[in-house]
Symmetry: C2
Subunit: 204 residues, 2 copies
């Protein structure tokens, strides 16, 4: 679906996607038509068709990718450089602040449900987001091990997978119950575990 | 919606719900009509209306409750008596076995999506399931603390919330990626944390 665009074309496309994302954040995806997006982004029908020949579904997938990028961007610069406990604590704060502000609404989830979660396009967006997220966390654990802050006996990939699971479950529980407790517990317990990982291992 | 039924009435209602659940597990909720359920459970139209005056939605909610009960039942007897490391390990095995068998399909999730996740009925089913699950895990942590196996300095409620978040996120990642790694990592890391919780706490 992606074609080669000129620099100007790329900028226009990005402007449409950002405008559509803002419109959808305000009114919800179900209540946003292509006409609403044209109006919001001052785009003609032929322009919209030029950039999104696949129509509404292609545009919504582009908005989903935009929102997925934003999930990670909201955790930067810490997520990309988890090389000290300060960075991990700062990252924890950013994650909590993002989801505290978001509450029970999930812009990305709404978009993917609308496109159809089982469609290859929607699955690719989620798979890529999770893979990047997991890789950043794993790189952070490895960096802390290299720095001598975390026990090198820990499997960094497994620690990252567990952290990501706790985080995703915490967000799911926030959406389900309206409470941030689970996300907070998952992050706090996960970080404490890394901090303690150099310690003695008592036989129970 | 619940009315007082005779013992026989209750048994008939339960039989219809169990039959509907089996039909839906085999064919999916979208491909299951009230007529399919009548046929499967050998029930007349007037009988079905007698037990589920609210129609398809009321029946689907009853099936959702049935599936929610089954989520917890599949983790018994260990979940209800997490009083030794053997019980915790046995519980971990049961959770993994259940979700390994289930794979990417989620019977409860499909039902709730069909009823409408935002409806009060669907939210009540999920909220009750999560509350019971969390209470069982918290009771388990407290039991281990009383037995001297887990540091009493740990906040049992927070540990249970973190475990539940990791578990939910692990299941979500299984549905998203098809891989059990995340659920396994969340459970293993969570149990290791409890086992180590009596140990020395090094200052990082």
């Amino acid at each position: 679906m992606e074609r080669t665009l000129t620099a100007k074309g790329t900028a226009t496309r990005e402007r449409i996607v950002a405008g559509a994302a803002a419109r959808i954040r305000e009114h919800g995806v179900a209540a946003t038509t292509l006409d609403d997006i044209r109006e919001r982004t001052a785009t003609s029908k032929s322009q919209l068709f030029h950039y999104f020949p696949g129509g509404r579904e292609e545009l919504l997938l582009a908005v989903a990718r935009f929102e997925a990028d934003r999930v990670l961007a909201d955790q930067q610069p810490q997520l990309g450089a988890l090389t000290s406990w300060e960075a991990w604590e700062g990252w924890r704060e950013k994650v909590l602040a993002r989801y505290r502000a978001q509450g029970r609404a999930c812009p990305l989830g709404g978009l993917l449900t609308q496109v159809g979660r089982a469609t290859p396009g929607a699955q690719a967006v989620v798979a890529e987001l999770m893979a990047r997220w997991e890789a950043e966390l794993a790189a952070g654990v490895v960096a802390m091990q290299r720095g001598g802050f975390v026990d090198t006996g820990l499997d960094a990939a497994r620690e990252a997978a567990a952290l990501l699971a706790g985080l995703q479950g915490g967000v799911l529980m926030l959406i389900t119950t309206g409470r941030l407790t689970y996300l907070q517990a998952a992050l706090d317990v996960g970080l404490e575990r890394l901090r303690r990982a150099g310690g003695e291992r008592p036989v129970p």
